[in-house]
Symmetry: C3
Subunit: 148 residues, 3 copies
């Protein structure tokens, strides 16, 4: 339980995973993204990114959203992680910047909210089994992401 | 002292507390907010949020600021925590987004700065005994928060 | 290796260092900044902040950029740290706000990207031996920083 070395190590490993997901998206490193999820994970992004069942669907949606951009930066903060045996829950805040230079109306679009995750311990380390995105605010030019 | 398991666990527990405060505000979860402070805590927010002595005053001020909004997100980063026995000090950065849709002049207002905290260990875990907010910059439309 | 107490303590000490750097810049505390680098460290900031060899050059560049401002806030997130013995690598995200009130065209300028660091363990703790800044997006009024 909370405070022992094992619990600290688990929670830090899960926080690392939250950041690895961000790095995978922002580097367009889809092999790295695969290390963040179980093969049958579900990502509920909402809006036109919808509900994605299984890693291939998750990867396809992330590619479709991010590959047209010049840059993105998924700032992940306020991680709150609870571990129980081989399962865990986490919530973190997201502030994602999307950049497409020369877009009429402005180059930047921010999407912000929370990721709500269910995680499992696997032989290869912690993985996301279910991720739900709750968007709470946006700022800038939605045309950058093709929202219009 | 720095680096032992107990020190790591204390510092992580305090970082968790900094994030729990943010979640309490953004979820308007006043029972959760009560778990962040000692009953006689002081919160020095400055400006019209003033100095608040005791948890009931702190809760009243937070409600008055946040309940009229559609959303808020208190992004908390750069936690710096020092523990000495049953007392601690921390400093973290804050970037708080406030959203009220349909506000003339823009929906968003950002308030950013630092929280400077004095904390104490209690039988129920670490609690904030004194919190001081230093605002260093703002952006967007202050009318969102009724600053005008 | 990953997960042991020593590894956790090292990684947390390096994360603390990343935040101490930000505090040193934002407080204009150049003595504190000196505790972040080895004496012969190299900081590759790019643009007009260039490549800076040795701490005196790093300090001079930081002073030149930041002392004219009314405020700055270097939000540091997503720390990813890997330790191998007495050496380490880290990457973190940066969102730096720069404020100069009364600037024509707007008071704020945001510079965002990643810090890519090589670190070494010294008798005084972990120090940055090489820091490279990769800027991925900016927002606001570049005149605040004298970029024009």
């Amino acid at each position: 339980m909370g405070g022992g070395l094992e619990d600290l190590a688990d929670r830090l490993a899960i926080t690392d995973l939250l950041y690895r997901y961000a790095a995978a998206l922002d580097d367009r490193d889809w092999a790295l993204l695969a290390t963040c999820f179980t093969p049958d994970a579900v990502a509920i992004y909402g809006g036109r990114a919808g509900t994605n069942e299984g890693f291939p669907a998750i990867e396809a949606t992330c590619r479709r959203s991010l590959e047209p951009l010049d840059a993105s930066q998924h700032i992940v903060t306020n991680p709150q992680v609870t571990v129980e045996g081989d399962a865990a829950r986490s919530r973190c805040y997201l502030q994602a910047q999307h950049v497409k230079r020369g877009t009429e109306g402005g180059d930047n679009f921010t999407v912000a909210g929370s990721y709500l995750d269910r995680l499992v311990r696997t032989p290869d380390g912690w993985r996301i089994a279910e991720r739900r995105l709750e968007v709470t605010w946006v700022d800038g030019n939605p045309t950058v992401l093709g929202w219009a």
